[in-house]
């Protein structure tokens, strides 16, 4: 596993993806701050409302952590197996280690690295917003008054959001990192699933599948006028309610299982040697 992680860390793709994400989070911070130039503290929203995943100013850079997330997470390393196969390194690796072990280790390494890259970029944003944005300004949860005594069931972990907002932000970032890891695993699985898949296919396929799924859920919701959580599954919320948890975990589970099936198919393929 260490060796696989080292290989991924030396990839140009990883550095480029990290830079893109870093530019996105710093851009988000700068874009948000310039909106508040010359404001009074009481008019400035709290750090938890202005960090990139929950930015109420609807900064366009948020797209890098939602719509474009599958694309970037798969770009980091999901196509590594195809590249190694094209460079004819694969047979050399399989003489030293069993194919099954190698594919699982590589898949896990790809997922972990994607998760870490996203989490690190988001952490930079977390530090920036908490360093500069006042915590007691226009901050609904910073109200020392009676209404805070009652619970509204606004989202799961509401108490953490109210009383430990930095921890809450860190948790949502970790979750987004995990989603990126799941997509990377899914993309890696797809790279073994189909013989005709090239690097571009691996990068684009999870993005297309996720986008198609979201379009489908919007169509179903419109057609049925349903408010059921199962017709509105999204992976990019930062305030899940209790009823949205099971559908969301099911979707994540689907991507994990499909990735695992892809890897299993990869272990059985004869054309790789």
């Amino acid at each position: 596993m260490k060796f696989e992680i080292k290989k991924l860390l030396n990839r140009n793709e990883l550095c480029i993806a990290f830079l893109v994400l870093l530019i996105a989070v710093c851009g988000n911070f700068i874009y948000t701050l310039q909106l508040y130039k010359g404001f009074k503290y009481s008019d400035i929203h709290s750090p938890s409302n202005l960090y990139v995943l929950n930015n109420i100013t609807h900064s366009p850079t948020e797209l890098f952590f939602s719509l474009l997330l599958p694309l970037i997470s798969c770009y980091i390393g999901s196509s590594i197996a195809i590249e190694e196969h094209n460079n004819e390194i694969t047979p050399c690796i399989y003489t030293r280690i069993s194919r099954k072990k190698q594919l699982i280790k590589q898949g896990l390494a790809v997922a972990i690295i994607s998760c870490v890259v996203f989490f690190t970029a988001l952490l930079v944003n977390l530090l920036l917003v908490n360093l500069f944005i006042p915590k007691g300004g226009n901050n609904y949860y910073c109200l020392p008054e009676e209404t805070i005594l009652s619970s509204s069931n606004y989202c799961i972990f509401e108490d953490i959001l109210k009383y430990h907002p930095i921890l809450y932000m860190a948790l949502t970032m970790l979750y987004r990192g995990i989603v990126a890891g799941v997509f990377a695993w899914f993309g890696y699985g797809l790279s073994h699933m189909f013989k005709f898949f090239k690097k571009t296919h691996v990068i684009v396929a999870p993005f297309i599948i996720m986008t198609a799924f979201e379009i489908l859920s919007v169509i179903i919701e419109r057609l049925t006028n349903s408010t059921n959580a199962w017709t509105r599954i999204g992976l990019y919320s930062s305030t899940y309610t209790f009823k949205e948890v099971i559908p969301t975990l099911t979707l994540l589970g689907f991507f994990i299982i499909t990735g695992a099936i892809g890897i299993y198919i990869g272990t059985k393929r004869e054309d790789i040697y």
Partner: protein, 229 residues
């Protein structure tokens, strides 16, 4: 990866971080801190009655006897607000620090506590939650409090909230309770006809004449407690 490529990536990262920090410092300098106020700053603000919604606390209408006022409080203390106290404004209310002089009920381990004043200040208007007014600087009060459970950013560890806006705060002069509750008319409240300076000598205000009567009747009971101590 080539060494020069690594250097390039490192340089871009550094530039982005430095640019963000520089931008943050520059913009931060343009912000004005309006979260610290003194009662004098808001003397000319107009004031209205604001009914608290969706909270677990009792309203003055629910507390009809002194015993129920007493039992609904976690803590009853005499506090002193210093002459130079600064009131901290938050999203929907304010808080101020007070020095605990005597404890009549409950336990308070700290010598100074934060007191939530359920007064919302917004665009030069004040909204007294259930008739609450700001504490006046340099004065003593007997207050009926509940421990505040919130601790966002670790700011409210040692914080208490009045059990009600209008009947939980009693001004004390020379060991005698002499607080007053102002009776505001509906018209005054709806049109915000009164300024805060008109009410500065009162502990609280209400739209219900029964609350004023109840407030005045409590003063005798509190004076009895003071005498016992």
């Amino acid at each position: 990866m080539h060494k020069s490529t690594k250097l390039l990536y490192g340089l871009v990262t550094l530039i982005m971080i430095v640019a963000s920090l520089f931008f943050g410092i520059t913009i931060k300098k343009t912000w004005k801190n309006d979260l610290l106020i003194t009662p004098k700053d808001v003397f000319n603000y107009r004031i209205s009655y604001n009914e608290m919604l969706n909270h677990e606390l009792k309203t003055p209408a629910e507390i009809r006897t002194f015993n129920s006022l007493y039992s609904n409080a976690d803590v009853i203390v005499r506090i002193n607000i210093s002459k130079n106290a600064v009131h901290n404004k938050t999203y929907q209310s304010c808080y101020v620090e007070g020095r605990v002089k005597e404890i009549y009920k409950g336990k308070v381990t700290e010598s100074t506590i934060k007191l939530i004043e359920s007064v919302c200040i917004y665009q030069k208007k004040m909204y007294g939650g259930d008739g609450a007014l700001l504490f006046n600087n340099g004065e003593d009060y007997i207050v009926f409090l509940r421990k505040y459970p919130g601790d966002m950013y670790g700011k409210y560890d040692n914080t208490y909230v009045l059990t009600t806006g209008s009947i939980s705060k009693y001004h004390v002069t020379n060991d005698t309770v002499d607080g007053k509750c102002f009776l505001m008319t509906q018209k005054h409240s709806e049109n915000a006809l009164l300024k805060y300076k008109n009410l500065k000598n009162y502990d609280s205000f209400t739209l219900d004449p029964n609350v004023v009567e109840f407030y005045d009747s409590n003063k005798k009971n509190i004076n009895d407690i003071l005498k016992k101590v």
